[in-house]
């Protein structure tokens, strides 16, 4: 404890005394601030206090001093821990209070008149981090988290991050649900009336009229969650329990829909099944069927969501299905169970955490999905589009947007609690480290054919849609003029070789920005997500359930709300990030982290605790155990988290629309602009290039991370 706390004390102190406290123009890595270290702009806190009279920045100094004194003078373990906690908590509390009380141009509540301060910079962050870590080290010294500074440090760090980048911004938006009409301040009286109104929860569709958007969203989400889980399971079973020959091809087909910018699927569906679509025309000509607009409404959204979200269920389930121990299945068969009984009573129950997490993700994705309902919604209103238009529509109503968001959150919370109960407290550990060289039981023929018959037509359907998209990018006007052209690609991605290589196509800028931001945010997302999963599965601490739910929060809220929340929270000091690439990275990390968390939880609940315990007993600490024992066994989960966060950073639309700026424009918002302008060929060509890029990235990731070796024969019983 002494060493760790001492190290963080030095880091924190360095941040306080050496790094510029406020944000500096050009960024802290430009090092230009080193020449101006005495000026008000770039001075570290110590100099700000001494030279510029910003006395309120002096708070951390006594905290550091007190911590140092405690470390030097106090001897008892508990006493030292208490001392550190008190010193660090006081310093941290003072820092936060100071930052929130003196934002921007003038202090809040008239506290020290006329004083304002710019956004916090590197110095403030490092100081805060140092204090936080001294605090958590102190807590571990009290014996919490099994006395492990790594565990308490990780919890502290993630709690702080989630509080800053999820709660703080989301609170900015949700508070407006309590805003009274006509600018009469805030109050609870109007909230309940609006929240429980029949416009929102109407059940008219049971009697033939229209349902409220909340009910529509709920029905859609339950069906999408169930459908994607079933399809994902069918695919996962084909991969692990059958001798299907074209697995690599199937693998690509299962992945491809998540790497597609959302509106592209909608557009392809319209061109196939719309009133003037190819398939519709074919059936109208061949069988004289009436051409209808059935696609616009529940049917179309459901189809598009199934296409879009089945891969997520698959990614979560493949690792889990693979991980189910063959020994258990063999034991079952030795005890004279047939294959169906083995699957039904042994394998399937062991997959519960995977099924539950896949369902939860599908459910939440469907609730928050915005692109598909926008394109295919017709007169079927769902919450996410209602929220979007409550914010950007002709009549802006932030209170309505906030109330609808709360309705969404309530549903998410409900689904979350139900899935917790369903998974229960049983043990699902099947990766135990014991000799385990059996083979997975093959599926019984009926089940195998059931899987084939659901999954393969679906894969064929996906293949058809994607060949259409590629086709669409090479023709002049998809649907009307099918003469071959390369014009769309040339306009987007032309390169000029005169005077060296210059990227003259109009898409290059946003393309490079998108790849950079996705490339930075993906590993961060995977790290934060899996670290959170590790804490949730492996550690016990107070408030764990609330902590778990809070990590789901940013995922459950529609992107539009998150986007606006981030602008409202991070446009002003103490944390001023709008117009930078940092805000885009942050929004991706905290929005996509739940997938890492869910996948990590599903995979980790299969790893037997005895593995950790063996490692700890042999003298490794938690960090080494997590790195050397758990992480290698989490290959599929890490891959899923990395893939998903990379892809989502490239394909998400609604959250980034408010956050992109001239210098940092993202591919999707660029593409959406083109679509709005009717340039479908260009948009599709750009999407096709993005799809190929992501596919290449995924394949490279797969090669790098490789397969985990469970020392099981990697084949299926004949």
């Amino acid at each position: 404890m002494k060493r760790t706390a001492g190290l963080w004390l030095l880091i924190g102190l360095a941040g306080y005394a050496l790094l510029p406290w406020y944000m500096v123009s050009g960024g802290v890595f430009s090092l230009g601030w080193m020449n101006e270290m005495t000026g008000t702009g770039a001075a570290p806190a110590l100099l700000q206090v001494v030279l510029h009279g910003k006395w309120w920045l002096s708070g951390p100094l006594p905290a550091f001093a007190a911590a140092a004194l405690v470390l030097a003078l106090v001897h008892g373990q508990t006493a030292m821990a208490r001392g550190l906690i008190i010193a660090a908590a006081a310093g941290l509390g003072f820092l936060i209070a100071e930052a929130l009380l003196i934002p921007g141009t003038a202090a809040r509540f008239g506290w020290i008149a006329g004083e304002g301060q710019p956004g916090m910079g590197a110095g403030a962050f490092v100081t805060a981090l140092g204090l936080l870590m001294i605090l958590t080290t102190g807590i571990s010294g009290l014996g919490r988290g099994r006395g492990d500074a790594f565990v308490t440090g990780l919890i502290g760090l993630i709690v702080a991050l989630v509080a800053t980048f999820v709660f703080y911004p989301v609170a900015h938006v949700l508070i407006r649900a309590f805003e009274m009409k006509g600018g009469a301040g805030y109050g609870i009286s109007e909230f309940f009336g609006r929240f429980f109104s029949a416009d929102l929860w109407g059940l008219g569709c049971l009697t033939g009229a229209e349902c409220g958007p909340a009910i529509n969203s709920l029905i859609l989400a339950v069906m999408t969650g169930a459908g994607t889980t079933a399809l994902g399971l069918a695919f996962a079973l084909i991969f692990t329990r059958t001798g299907f020959r074209a697995k690599p091809l199937l693998r690509v087909l299962t992945i491809i829909p998540i790497i597609t910018p959302p509106f592209v699927i909608g557009l392809a569906l319209i061109l196939l099944f719309g009133r003037a679509g190819t398939v519709t025309e074919f059936f109208a000509d061949a069988f004289g069927w009436e051409k209808t607009r059935w696609l616009y409404g529940f049917g179309g959204i459901y189809l598009a969501q199934m296409l879009s979200f089945t891969p997520i269920a698959f990614l979560v389930l493949i690792g889990v299905v693979e991980g189910v121990s063959p020994s258990m299945e063999e034991a079952s068969q030795t005890l004279d169970a047939d294959r169906w009984q083995t699957f039904r009573y042994v394998s399937l129950p062991l997959m519960r955490p995977g099924l539950a997490n896949a369902f939860l993700l599908g459910f939440i994705e469907s609730l928050a999905d915005f692109g598909n309902p926008l394109v295919l919604g017709g007169n079927f209103n769902v919450l996410s589009t209602e929220i979007y238009f409550a914010i950007v529509g002709a009549v802006a109503d932030p209170a309505k947007a906030a109330i609808l968001s709360i309705a969404l959150l309530v549903m998410t919370l409900g689904a979350f609690l139900i899935q917790r109960r369903w998974v229960g407290k049983k043990s699902y550990a099947t990766v135990t480290g014991k000799a385990d060289s059996g083979r997975h039981a093959a599926l019984n023929p009926a089940l195998r054919w059931a899987c084939y018959l659901t999954a393969l037509p679906w894969a064929a359907f996906t293949a058809a849609i994607y060949s259409m998209i590629v086709f669409g990018s090479f023709v002049k006007l998809w649907g009307y003029d099918h003469s071959f052209t390369l014009e769309h690609y040339i306009r987007a991605f032309s390169v000029s070789f005169a005077n060296g290589v210059r990227f003259t196509g109009s898409a290059w800028d946003s393309y490079f920005t998108t790849l950079t931001i996705a490339g930075i945010s993906a590993p961060l997302t995977a790290f934060v997500g899996l670290a959170t999963a590790y804490l949730l599965v492996r550690q016990k601490f107070a408030g764990k359930e609330a902590f778990e739910f809070s990590t789901m929060l940013s995922f459950a809220i529609p992107g539009t709300v998150i986007g606006v929340a981030y602008v409202m929270a991070f446009n002003f000091p103490p944390i001023e990030l709008t117009g930078t690439s940092v805000i885009l990275i942050l929004v991706f990390v905290f929005r996509n982290m739940p997938v890492g968390v869910r996948g990590g939880i599903a995979a980790m609940s299969q790893l037997d605790r005895s593995l950790d315990e063996a490692s700890l007993m042999l003298g490794a600490n938690s960090f080494t155990t997590a790195r050397r024992v758990i992480a290698p066994l989490l290959g599929p989960a890490i891959l899923a988290a990395l893939t998903y966060s990379f892809v989502r950073a490239i394909t998400s639309v609604s959250a980034v629309i408010f956050l992109v700026s001239a210098r940092h424009n993202m591919a999707t918002s660029f593409i959406v602009g083109r679509v709005e302008n009717g340039e479908f060929g260009f948009a599709i060509a750009y999407s096709a290039v993005l799809i190929l890029t992501m596919l290449a990235a995924i394949l490279i990731l797969q090669l790098l991370i490789g397969k985990r070796r469970l020392r099981r024969a990697d084949r299926v019983e004949a």
Binding site: W294, A662, E676
Partner: protein, 342 residues
């Protein structure tokens, strides 16, 4: 522990690879992408000011300007329908640029007067009807020529129009009919048309796109969007309604508290010049420029040949009129059925 420290520190430092605030002009453009790019490069060539530009729709821009009020990251907002610009002016989110409006057409000056100079008209686009000629022939329907034709029960399930609660285009239509026929008569007509509407879309440009692809037969929307689709090769025919029609005026506004106010004013001056406006012809801009000296594309809807109403932006842009009309629309048009999927 040490490794963990270095990893987390590296992560934090990566996040701190912070921003650059160089001197430049930050423009949000709500026009077509090509037109945005062209204007930006022309402005850079003319003034030497570095332009950072991003394209966002008007609704999104307004939401962002509201959220950023007090510490805006945008200097100037160019393009898009006038209503959100007027709302921004009314909410005191923008400030007067003091640009010279003497060379502009009356409707452009009108917008500037209503907003106290906070937004100035840059172009106008008339509202119209479009139909897909192929589908119309296939169904054996006759082409509509007037607003009142749309009430014909023969068009049942064939018309698509946006929802005025979410779309400024549809609100312009609502206000236009109210001004043409009087409020009661207009709502009666809207309800009759509503019986033929297959879908009230969220976005204003969606109906014409659907008509272009044959997903619906008839759409209501802005003519310049329709010309755009027609030029792309879709079998879309455009109709200027016989009773007369309303129009929108696109605006340019300087954001209040802009970091580069001088450059922003230069931008406003520049986009109001005839030379800058007629450059739009090179990239297919089909709305009518506000500078009387700017030349027109032969394909763009000629406002002088269309019967335009004297659109009352002050009354119909005001939020109480808007709320009253929308509540009435919700009750009498949407509530009266329609929106039938076949």
């Amino acid at each position: 522990m040490n490794k963990f420290s270095s990893i987390s520190l590296a992560a934090v430092l990566a996040v701190l690879a912070a921003p650059a605030f160089a001197d430049e002009l930050n423009v949000v453009c709500s026009n077509e992408q090509d037109w945005c790019d062209l204007m930006a490069s022309n402005f850079e060539a003319a003034t030497g000011i570095d332009v950072a530009m991003v394209r966002k729709s008007t609704g999104e821009t307004l939401a962002q300007v509201r959220a950023e009020a007090g510490n805006p990251k945008i200097d100037v907002w160019w393009g898009g329908t006038g209503d959100p610009h007027l709302i921004a002016a009314a909410e005191d989110l923008t400030e007067a640029s003091g640009a010279d409006t003497s060379a502009l057409l009356p409707w452009a000056v009108n917008i500037a007067e209503i907003s106290g100079g906070k937004t100035i008209g840059i172009h106008a686009g008339a509202l119209g009807i479009a139909y897909n000629a192929d589908i119309l022939a296939e169904k054996g329907l006759k082409a509509p020529a007037c607003w009142k034709d749309l009430a014909d029960p023969a068009y049942k399930g064939e018309i698509q129009v946006a929802n005025p609660n979410s779309s400024g285009t549809a609100y312009t239509e609502l206000a236009t009919l109210t001004q043409l026929f009087g409020e009661d008569e207009a709502f009666k007509l809207l309800a009759e048309i509503g019986a033929n509407v297959n879908q009230y879309t969220k976005s204003g440009s969606a109906p014409s796109k659907a008509a272009a692809r044959g997903e619906t037969t008839i759409s209501i929307g802005f003519m310049h969007d329709m010309v755009n689709l027609r030029k792309a090769g879709f079998p879309l025919e455009i109709v200027a309604p016989c009773e007369g029609t309303g129009y929108e005026v696109g605006g340019v506004s300087v954001i209040k508290g802009a970091k580069n106010p001088e450059a922003a004013k230069k931008w406003v001056d520049f986009v109001l010049t005839a030379e800058a406006q007629q450059a739009g012809l090179q990239v297919g801009v089909y709305n009518v420029p506000s500078n009387s000296g700017a030349s027109l594309d032969p394909d763009s809807p000629d406002l002088s040949s269309i019967k335009l109403i004297d659109y009352d932006f002050a009354t119909y842009g005001a939020s109480d009129t808007r709320e009253r009309l929308l509540a009435r629309w919700e009750a009498e048009v949407k509530g009266a059925g329609g929106a039938v999927e076949e």
